[in-house]
């Protein structure tokens, strides 16, 4: 029997709250219009476009080298993997033969970017749930990777180290040494992440059974990356459509089945272990060879459509180029992982409390420029 206001003549309207665009939990300019009843959330309606720069319109007037540098600004936490996506699309379209050295280096730096993105996610995840010290431990490990990138590519976040046809310049002499140092350091620190946050009973109570996503819903909503794998949906592009040197390494896909925030959290922690093992398999035998294949200054793709899938830290990034043979693409579409992962937020947050919404949003690991493009 609904005891509360149902049968009394007290009329109660919905209570609207604006979560964003300036809000600590949204990690960027995303505005969520929450309809709440006390603490319980009835509806979440995202309002996007605060950081929309119409990258796809810009791509229609830029040459292919210039498009690569634009992708840095989309998902800035896996900027290297975004660059690699566009370069692979162009190289496959031109049927360029890429030397093995480039493939191995691209995969190593890609996995390092994934670890860097996951350590930042872990730090910010702890902060969202209330443990403020995790932020600094996460950033301490991320700083070591940023230094490796700064030494090799010259930039910490927006690398633009890839160009269609290979890499801009060769890796720095002590790239291998620094990466090995990082792996050794991180192997001792990752278990600490578990004792500090994963094992904590308050953390488990806040995460288990929160934001449940079944496997069918994950597929139907197009969830990819750790969000999909948390619900048992095997969607790792590195496994199903391997690219660069990923077919030469053996690693197992982190899959969990119960689909709540804690499962998505565990998938990302496991992925960090997998990425480290991939780097170890490749770091010692980087094949010799030059790092750039000669392409003519103005790249013209043949007429037709080209699609390339890549696994970024957030999920499956797809680059679809519809070219009519001119020097810039007729239409270029980025299938961004964050966009589909955000679309399921309303589905998993309804019925939960505000604390649950913040916890499940943290495990969706949203990067707003990746959604708005």
């Amino acid at each position: 029997m609904d005891t509360n206001i149902a049968n009394s003549n007290l009329k109660s309207e919905d209570y609207f709250i604006n979560m964003g665009p300036q809000h600590p939990a949204t990690h960027g300019v995303l505005r969520l219009l929450l309809t709440i009843d006390g603490e319980i959330i009835k509806k979440v309606e995202p309002d996007l476009g605060y950081i929309h720069r119409s990258i796809e319109k810009m791509c229609e007037r830029d040459s292919y080298q210039q498009i690569v540098h634009l992708t840095d600004r989309m998902d800035y936490l896996s900027s290297h993997i975004n660059n690699e996506a566009v370069c692979l699309t162009v190289e496959n379209a031109l049927q360029l033969e890429i030397p093995d050295r480039v493939k191995v280096i691209r995969t190593i730096i890609g996995e390092l970017t994934r670890i860097a993105s996951h350590t930042l996610w872990w730090g910010v995840m702890g902060m969202d749930v209330g443990a403020l010290t995790t932020y600094f431990y996460g950033f301490r490990d991320r700083e070591m990777i940023n230094d490796i990138f700064e030494e090799t590519c010259g930039a910490r976040l927006t690398m633009n180290y890839n160009i269609p046809g290979g890499l801009m310049f060769d890796i720095h002499p002590n790239f291998v040494k620094r990466t090995k140092e990082f792996i050794a350091h991180f192997k001792t620190k990752l278990p600490e992440y578990d004792t500090l946050l994963t094992g904590n009973v308050i953390f488990q109570k806040r995460m288990k059974g929160v934001g449940i996503l079944t496997k069918e819903d994950a597929i139907s909503f197009g969830a990819s990356g750790p969000v999909g794998r948390g619900s048992g949906y095997s969607c790792d592009v590195r496994k199903h459509h391997p690219y660069s040197a990923l077919d030469k390494v053996t690693f197992n896909e982190a899959l969990k089945t119960d689909g709540d925030s804690f499962a998505r959290y565990q998938v990302r922690i496991e992925e960090m272990w997998e990425s480290m093992s991939i780097i170890e398999q490749l770091i010692d035998n980087i094949p010799e060879g030059d790092v750039q294949v000669a392409t003519n200054a103005v790249i013209k793709l043949p007429k037709g459509e080209f699609y390339q899938k890549v696994e970024t830290a957030r999920g499956e990034l797809g680059v679809y180029i519809n070219s009519t043979g001119t020097k810039n693409p007729y239409r270029l579409k980025f299938r961004s992982p964050g966009f589909s992962n955000l679309s399921l937020l309303n589905h998993i947050a309804v019925g939960g409390k505000i604390g649950d919404l913040v916890a499940s949003m943290a495990t969706l690991d949203l990067v707003i420029p990746d959604i708005d493009r």
Binding site: R140, E150, T152, L197, G199, N200
Partner: protein, 158 residues
């Protein structure tokens, strides 16, 4: 009895969590990971590939390598390089030749993508490692890379 069981388990996980932060508290004498930026300015050295700002190196008798071919201007995605060139009589060969007058570089619009340096045939522009580029007026951000009355270094054309 699971009532007391999960209380005990809960407290045990809480204590292990505290042990991690406690370990860091005790060993905090080892120094912080944060960089004391304004204090360590003298000792701070950036990596030599760090992309601070595009500059045109001049050798001792004020000569640079830029021929004014505008390849970098075409390669730049957001128009932050403007080459102002004019036809002058080349003193040795007496023919009219395309000479660089001003290589205007808008640091304010540059996204540090490195495509111009990649496209330059004569390696005339390189990265400088300074990162303190903030200025009080936007007009200071538009720089002219080639120093006044500097000449093209001989032998670069071939």
């Amino acid at each position: 009895m699971s009532y007391f069981g999960d209380i005990y388990k809960g407290i045990k996980t809480l204590l292990t969590g505290m042990s991690v932060t406690g370990k860091y508290f005790i060993t905090s004498r080892k120094g912080a990971i944060t960089q004391q930026y304004p204090d360590n300015r003298e000792t701070l050295k950036m990596f030599e590939r760090f992309r601070g700002e595009v500059v045109m190196p001049h050798d001792e008798n004020n000569e640079h390598r830029c021929t004014g071919c505008q390849k970098c201007e075409l390669a730049c995605p957001n128009g932050s390089i403007e080459i102002i060139w004019d036809r002058q009589i080349d003193p040795e060969s007496g023919k009219k030749k395309k000479m660089i007058d001003k290589h205007v570089y808008h640091l304010g619009m540059c996204t540090m993508c490195g495509l111009c340096i990649e496209a330059c045939p004569t390696d005339a522009i390189v990265w400088a490692q300074n990162f303190e580029n903030s200025v009080y007026d936007r007009s200071y951000l538009t720089k002219v890379l080639n120093q006044p009355n500097s000449k093209l270094k001989a032998g670069v054309e071939e």
